[in-house]
Amino acid sequence: MLAAALIAVPVVAQQEKPAEKPKESRTAYLRRIFEKDRASYGDACRAVLSVLKNEHSDADFAAISGDLAGRGVVRADWGLQETSLLTKGTLAYMVFQALELKGGVTMRLFGINRRYALRECVQRRLMASGTVDEYVTGRELIDVITNAAIHKEQGHTDSQYK
């Protein structure tokens, strides 16, 4: 009886311990995003920060989102989690802020919002057209990040369409 209890205790302790999520490193996230039907907010945060810093970032979500919030790229009042599905409006807002784009008169007067950010990103050919609440696929996210990186380097995305 005692022996059975001694054996059972560590087994229970092992079961209660939450399984640690393996840390994804280097380019693995890109290949994972490519296969996803719906990109997540966490994917976008990592990718946008990498474009901002011109280097790949392996930090965890809390550190990445904190860094982006500090730079004004994301807003804390969104209340989005790492696994939240990414919408085109949110991605456009992040890209718009990350690239420090200047909007039109309305945006300068009333400030940036997701709807106008999306229009601006579409006009600059950073993103394909769509609606603010439309979900972003993994492949779309890769294309947007590629375009954003080119835009940051060259000031436009013309070379992507030649």
Binding site: R26, T27, A28, L30, R31, F34, A47, S50, V51, N54, E55, H56, A128, T137, G138, R139, E140, I142, D143, I145, T146, A149, D158, S159, Q160, Y161, K162
Partner: protein, 255 residues
């Protein structure tokens, strides 16, 4: 006896014919340049590993670059490929057949820049994207495969060599006579099949310029807008008459 002799002669002829075929030798590409975060997966690797300079990549190897990261792959002294940022590509085939180097690259997403100069080895390079294939020989250009569209865009940086680009969904064909380089020379050796998202460009000409290539001769024309669309707008009885800039009176005081 006669039958045996003929069989022997045939066998000898077959042996000779077989020996004339170029021998296939496996070849390896060398990573000559690695910048930023670049991972490779060779056939012997269980998982992706960090790329390093002078690493050898053979048939079946894959390469993936992250943001602001590039890799340079040297096949021979005259065949080089630059893997651009945010790209995943696989070396489907890499072999030397006699005097020819066969390279088959599968581009999953991203872009690569191909530079093939004249050298001792002939090169037969094929770049496959999800819906298209581009064969390259002796030239310099960029092949892009956007992740979403499934198509491919090709930008040539030279007029020499032959690029053949075939898309699986074809709506319009672009042939050599449709395009010219910046010096007005018609490009030869071009066979391109393109649809809405497969597009070939020369020297940075955009799609509109390419499609209006038939009006290229109008460049030196004093009235370059004399094209059917504008003619219709101007000659239509219902359309308002547009006064052209060339016929506007000069402001007073203009020399």
């Amino acid at each position: 006896m006669r039958l045996m002799l003929s069989v022997l002669v045939l066998a000898a002829a077959a042996g000779l014919a077989g020996s004339q075929e170029p021998k296939r030798e496996d070849f390896e590409a060398t990573l000559v340049e690695v910048k930023g975060t670049v991972d490779v997966k060779r056939p012997e690797d269980k998982d992706w590993v960090a790329a390093a300079r002078n690493m050898k990549l053979k048939k079946g190897s894959e390469i993936c670059t992250s943001v602001s990261s590039t890799a340079g792959l040297l096949f021979t002294g005259n065949v080089k490929i630059d893997v651009k940022p945010l790209t995943q590509a696989k070396v489907e085939d890499l072999a030397k057949l006699g005097n020819t180097l066969n390279v088959d690259l599968k581009l999953k997403f991203g872009s690569i820049e191909v530079d093939i100069q004249k050298g001792d080895l002939n090169s037969d390079m094929k770049v496959s994207a999800p819906n298209s294939t581009t064969s390259v020989s002796g030239s310099h250009g960029i092949v892009r495969a956007p992740a979403t569209e499934g198509g491919c865009r090709v930008t040539l940086r030279t007029t020499t060599g032959t690029w053949r680009h075939d898309a699986s969904q074809v709506e319009r064909a672009i042939f050599g006579e449709d395009v010219a380089d910046n010096h007005g020379n018609q490009l030869r050796d071009l066979r391109a099949l393109a649809d809405s998202h497969d597009f070939i460009d020369f020297f940075g000409r955009n799609q509109d310029e390419l499609y209006q290539g038939r009006f290229a001769g109008k460049a030196a024309d004093s009235d370059p807008w004399d094209v059917p669309f504008f003619d219709y707008a101007n000659n239509s009885p219902t359309a308002p008459r547009v006064k052209r800039a060339s016929t506007l009176p000069l402001p007073p005081g203009t020399p």
